[in-house]
């Protein structure tokens, strides 16, 4: 704990920790000092000079920038003296001499720090009568961000963000003096996954976002706080709508999760809500084999009758449910209760065969918090490329390594976004993870130094599946290894947004709501009594359900906001499985690869259209809120499931999500986590759920099949996922599938750079453009997942030059 000091601000005694920045101390004490370059999450630079104050010193009072002054005992500060007032006015006048004052056509107008602070601290009018500085305006610096250099006040917030926080130093000051400007390198756009943050922190309208430009005025916006639905980091956002349409997301500074930042997928990925392809009415497959609009009554009756017929004919065991990982906790809970208590099946899974074991993801004994990274001495990342899959967690790990002094070890089959700031990078071939883990734990060879770095604890290990072709049990052995270090904490890294919440709600065959293992007999009995029924045996997971559909053992499947025909590691197999079902009921936002194969499609409300809670990868439960009504006849999933349950002669007690929230708050892990507690005080930053029954991690890494060439199948941020494809801003950012191969392998196999190749695994695909990637472990090829090419998810593949 830092030493406490007392200083005097405008004659008032103020307490602070030694070394805190004066500007922040003053603000806490109620004295807001105007500022442009200073941002609490960036290193201070003292460039704009707006925050000048007077400090008393041995040679009298002197003007100094409060953003670069660290408080000390006995410091005497004046913030309202004549000298300070004149300096502040002077700086504001300077900032305005070249500012175009085109506020009426500027997105920032109405919420602009330059406007606000000019009114509060600036001169009434300018004395400047000369010609202003002119630049072409605006110019695109990426597909998402436009730059107006006339409005820019050169505070360097954007350039510092890009370099310090994102690690994408693609925008810079160019030229000098009065012609200084922010620019990209010629031909190198600011194509950072985090570019939108610069728009948010720009204190003027110099940086504007293409998707939001001219869409709304700040005073028209209706805003609620919510949680981003795109991945499992759970970034806190301000969800802003105009005319019943979500037009903008801003990052909210939740100290525990996103610290104010968002990735561009989260920030600009809200356009799908207003996509013209949103489902606005139920659809029922007609005799002609096509889907036709239907009334809710018709559609629900058809779905209920279909389910009833399968249950009566082949037993509840012939019904399965997939999905829920993109839903709220309340929707997931309703889904689980519907499947287990109403239908009576144990076949249910929120994962799509691409995650880790449910017990691992919910029962990690030493599960860490994202915030543990702040004090970490060492960080091990052995899981997905965080920059691609959990971008804001990437920012937090990057911060730990670059700003907080943590030693970073990255283990991955190819270069990841964190490699440039890692102290040690280890490569291995998919399928040989067990051997890599043995080398790391024994400190053998190149792994010795990495092993030593991990000793610089406390250790935070981010553990997940590096690629979808690898055995998920490897991650459990890695976690067990990490937990062996004193003070170690483990963050499980699986991407899909509310996967953790869905599992916590029991959407896995081996889990009951509240992180209780399904094998816990007394818990089962208690739940069966409360719910009025529970299947006797544990059912199948997603893999088993797909297999069951293929074998004909499972005849009906209910999909809740999931698209296995695109998102399953082997999408073709999942699509074929759906095709064999007697009944597919899809509760969805769109007609996807999966829902277009359904017999009944029920349009649901989405993020921003319903209230509820979600749970992130550290087990933090946060509120999501409603700001728009949603399209057409779409309804909350909870109500849809309750109606279905009633038609099947049961009730899940889910007329409203809030009613179910009460049941959830009574489950072991979520005791006391109510909507009310999440909506006030510190609860707004979320409350972490408990781990009532810790999971025993297996110490042994699985042996895996290996061959001459191994497949690294991994996700990229912008893929062909529904939510990306349905938004204008992001859809164009998804690349095309390509095959990455080590230059030595390419040479050996006679595959020329720029040529095309055939990749064969469980299935084969030809004509893949070849990219030489020396960062790959030799003997490995990398295929981005869900970019339109698939060979299944087996680790062993073969490659040959082929058109």
């Amino acid at each position: 704990m830092a030493e406490r000091v007392t200083l005097t601000i405008d004659g008032r005694a103020v307490e602070a920790s030694a070394g805190e920045l004066l500007i922040a101390v003053a603000q806490r004490a109620g004295t807001y000092l105007p500022r442009f370059c200073w941002h609490p999450r960036l290193e201070p630079v003292g460039m704009c000079r707006q925050c000048l104050v007077e400090l008393e010193g041995p040679r009298g009072r002197a003007l100094t920038t409060s953003c670069t002054t660290r408080v000390a005992e006995g410091m005497v500060v004046h913030t309202t003296s004549e000298a300070v007032r004149k300096a502040q006015e002077g700086v504001l006048e300077y900032l305005l001499v070249n500012h175009p004052l085109d506020c009426p056509v500027c997105d920032r107008g109405g919420e602009c720090p330059l406007q606000d602070q000019t009114i509060a601290f600036g001169p009434g009018e300018s004395r400047y009568v000369e010609e202003k500085r002119h630049f072409a305006k605006p110019i695109p610096i990426s597909d998402l961000v436009l730059l107006d250099r006339e409005r820019c006040i050169l505070c360097a917030r954007c350039t510092r963000f890009a370099e310090e926080i994102a690690g994408d130093p693609l925008i810079h000051f160019v030229s000098r003096g009065n012609t200084t400007q922010v620019l990209t390198f010629p031909g190198e756009p600011f194509s950072s996954y985090f570019s939108g943050n610069t728009v948010q922190i720009c204190p003027v309208g110099a940086l504007t976002a293409v998707p939001y430009r001219f869409r709304a005025r700040p005073w028209d916006l209706e805003a609620v706080e919510s949680t981003c639905p795109h991945c499992s980091v759970g970034c806190r956002v301000s969800l802003q709508a105009s005319a019943n349409r979500v037009v903008r997301l801003l990052g909210v500074d939740n100290a525990h999760t996103n610290q104010g930042w968002l990735c561009d997928k989260g920030r600009f990925g809200c356009e799908y809500l207003a996509s013209p392809e949103r489902l606005t009415t139920p659809l029922v497959r007609g005799k002609d084999g096509e889907l036709h609009p239907a009334t809710w009554a018709e559609a629900l009756a058809r779905a209920a009758a279909g389910l009833r017929s399968v249950i009566d004919g082949e037993g509840a065991d012939a019904v399965a449910g997939l999905g829920g990982a993109r839903s709220t906790n309340e929707e997931a809970y309703a889904f689980g209760k519907f499947l287990r208590a109403t239908v009576g099946t144990g076949h249910l899974d929120a994962r799509l065969g691409d995650a880790l074991s449910a017990r691992f993801l919910t029962g990690l004994p030493r599960r860490g918090a994202i915030d543990d990274l702040e004090e970490a001495g060492a960080v091990l990342v052995w899981g997905p490329d965080l920059k691609e899959e959990l971008p804001v967690l990437y920012l937090r790990v990057r911060r730990a390594a670059t700003r907080r002094g943590a030693r970073l070890v990255v283990v991955h089959p190819r270069a990841t976004g964190l490699d440039p700031v890692a102290d040690h990078v280890l490569r291995y071939r998919p399928g040989e993870g067990a051997e890599m883990l043995r080398r790391l734990s024994e400190g053998e060879g190149e792994a010795a130094a990495a092993r030593a770095a991990l000793e610089q604890g406390p250790l935070v290990a981010v553990v997940g599946r590096p690629g979808l072709a690898e055995d998920p049990r490897l991650a459990e052995a890695v976690a067990a290894f990490a937990e062996g270090f004193p003070g170690a904490r483990v963050l499980p890294a699986a991407r899909r947004s509310n996967l953790y919440g869905a599992l916590d709600m029991g959407l896995a065959p081996d889990l009951l709501p509240g992180r209780v293992p399904a094998g816990d007999l007394s818990a089962r009995e208690a739940l069966a009594e409360r719910w009025g029924g529970l299947p006797g045996a544990e059912g199948d997971d997603a893999e088993g359900i797909v297999a069951g559909l293929q074998e004909g053992r499972i005849r009906a499947v209910v999909l809740l906001g999931c698209d296995p025909a695109a998102d399953f590691p082997d999408p073709a197999r999942a699509a074929a499985a759906l095709g064999r079902a007697e009944l597919v009921v899809a509760v969805d936002l769109f007609l996807t690869e999966s829902s277009r194969r359904a017999h009944v499609v029920l349009p649901a409300l989405a993020f921003g259209e319903v209230e509820g809670t979600v749970t992130n990868l550290e087990g933090r439960v946060q509120k999501v809120n409603r700001v728009v009504p949603g399209p057409g006849q779409a309804r909350p999933a909870v109500e849809i499931l309750e109606d279905l349950a009633r038609l099947l002669g049961h009730s899940i007690g889910g007329e409203t999500a809030e009613a179910l929230a009460g049941e959830i708050a009574a489950s072991p892990a979520y005791v006391g986590i109510t909507w009310a507690s999440l909506s006030r005080g510190e609860g707004r930053d979320g409350i972490r759920a408990a781990t009532p029954v810790p999971y025993d991690l297996p110490l042994e890494a699985p042996g895996e099949e290996t061959g001459e060439m191994a497949l690294h199948l991994a996700r990229v941020l912008y893929d062909r996922g529904t939510l990306v494809r349905q938004g204008q801003a992001l859809a164009g950012l998804a690349g095309a599938a390509s095959l990455h191969i080590h230059p030595a392998d390419a040479a050996r196999l006679g595959i020329p750079e720029g040529g095309t190749a055939r990749l064969s695994g469980r299935s084969g695909v030809s004509g893949l453009p070849v990219v030489l990637d020396p960062s790959l472990a030799p003997g490995t090829v990398y295929l981005p997942f869900n970019l339109g090419a698939s060979v299944g998810d087996g680790p062993v593949v073969s490659v040959e030059a082929a058109p």
């Binding site: 707006q50 002077g90 700086v91 001499v97 400047y128 000098r176 003096g177 009065n178 012609t179």
Partner: protein
């Protein structure tokens, strides 16, 4: 007074004073030999302190005291500031070009005193020949064992790297110089931390001017006391002045400080008076950043402290003389244009304020001035350098902004009626 410390060799041997052969033949490297083999670093520092040598880069900070601020962390560095860019200043150029070994020896002596094993000589980018000469001197010194491992037979190691700037005045400011040396934009750093605590690559660093370090061989040879005996208290030793402008005999002159401005401008062996017998109007005593002096100051002594008392400085030693025909508004415009052009753009008051001053002066010279412009010029200046006092206060990060106000303040202090006449209705364009 013909005492010469810095320029003795180049005066006596104008043809080859830059060569190692000549340097050795005239006693060169004896001081370094002695320092590293016979003196402790503390003894060397004590001599420099005893000499009361003040920095020649502009600020006039006592050299030995500055060395005392060097933080203990290692590695630490010595950086020689050869980014001489102040308009009218060309004295370091002469030292770099005509006696580079003297600088190399001074650098090595300082490095030994500081326990530094890596020094950098940062030479202004436009100084191609001086840089070549210094590089050659460094190469020769390595070959002769005065640099590198175990210099001059001692156990002391020193590497020296010569680095060329890229053409920015701001890089003469020591923290901008460090940024430039690191490959970053030449922009000043916020102080504290000062370079002696956190300088090059974040390590403790001493930055000394070329002329400052060129004095060291003499000080070690003759002793600090001998140096301290030259010139008045507070301005010990000799100093190189670059006298230019409307004098009959422009040039670099090494003089013992304490003579009068009249001597410097009029003495036959120095400036030799105003050209064509014209009357003196004003002069800049220490580079473009220094407020101007006028004939009433002619008999004031040329010392650091006396000049400060007059509200100006000896600065970089550039004396620019203006005769009675000078259009002082145009002169101020030229100076302000320089500062506006050289402002790095990092902080608001300098970036916006210097160009605003420039635009107004341009307008006045164009004949489109307004009476209100005079007070506006002063108030814009005041918002860069509050109070327009000496030494200057600043709302800026570094002194470049306040430097741009020096010509404005000088103009208004000494020639306000001339400016007023220019902004009267119907005054029309001049020059």
């Amino acid at each position: 007074m013909s005492e010469r410390i810095l320029t003795a060799r180049m005066q006596a041997h104008p043809g080859d004073s830059h060569t190692l052969e000549r340097y050795l033949a005239t006693g060169g490297y004896a001081s370094l030999r002695r320092a590293v083999n016979e003196l402790t670093p503390a003894q060397v520092t004590a001599e420099v302190k005893a000499a009361n040598l003040r920095g020649r880069g502009g600020a006039g900070f006592p050299c030995g005291v500055k060395w005392g601020f060097l933080a203990p962390a290692t590695p630490h560095y010595l950086v020689v500031n050869g980014d001489e860019s102040e308009p009218g200043t060309c004295k370091d150029r002469q030292l770099l070009e005509r006696d580079p070994h003297q600088l190399v020896e001074g650098t090595a002596i300082a490095a030994y005193a500081l326990g530094v094993h890596q020094a950098f000589i940062y030479v202004r980018g436009e100084y191609a020949r001086p840089a070549r000469r210094v590089q050659r001197a460094v190469d020769e010194a390595y070959a002769a064992g005065f640099l590198g491992a175990g210099i001059a037979g001692s156990g002391f190691d020193l590497d020296v790297t010569v680095h060329l700037g890229a053409g920015a005045y701001i890089c003469g400011e020591e923290t901008a110089l460090l940024n430039s040396l690191e490959g970053r934009r030449g922009e000043p750093r916020i102080r504290p931390p000062f370079p002696a605590v956190e300088g090059l690559y974040g390590q403790p660093t001493i930055v000394n001017n070329v002329e400052t370090l060129s004095n060291l061989p003499w000080i070690i040879e003759h002793g600090g006391a001998a140096y301290d005996a030259l010139g008045p208290e507070g301005s010990r030793g000799t100093r190189l002045f670059s006298v230019s402008g409307h004098v009959a005999r422009p040039g670099n002159y090494e003089v013992v400080m304490g003579l009068s401005w009249r001597d410097l401008i009029y003495r036959e062996d120095l400036g030799a008076g105003v050209r064509d017998g014209r009357a003196l109007k004003a002069w800049i005593p220490g580079g473009a950043s220094a407020p101007w002096l006028v004939p009433e100051h002619l008999d004031e002594p040329v010392t650091i402290d006396d000049t400060a008392r007059l509200g100006s400085m000896l600065g970089s030693g550039a004396v620019v003389v203006m005769d009675e025909t000078t259009d002082v508004v145009a002169a101020a415009l030229a100076l302000v244009r320089f500062f506006a052009h050289e402002s790095c753009g990092e902080c608001t008051p300098c970036r916006e304020g210097t160009t605003w001053l420039l635009r107004i002066l341009e307008r006045i010279v164009r004949g489109a001035g307004r009476p209100a412009d005079l007070d506006l010029l002063l108030d814009i200046s005041d918002n860069i350098s509050p109070g327009l006092r000496w030494p200057p206060a600043q709302t800026t990060i570094c002194p470049l902004g306040p430097s741009a106000t020096a010509p404005i303040v000088s103009l208004m202090r000494h020639f306000r009626p001339e400016v007023e006449a220019r902004v009267l209705p119907g005054a029309g364009a001049h020059g």
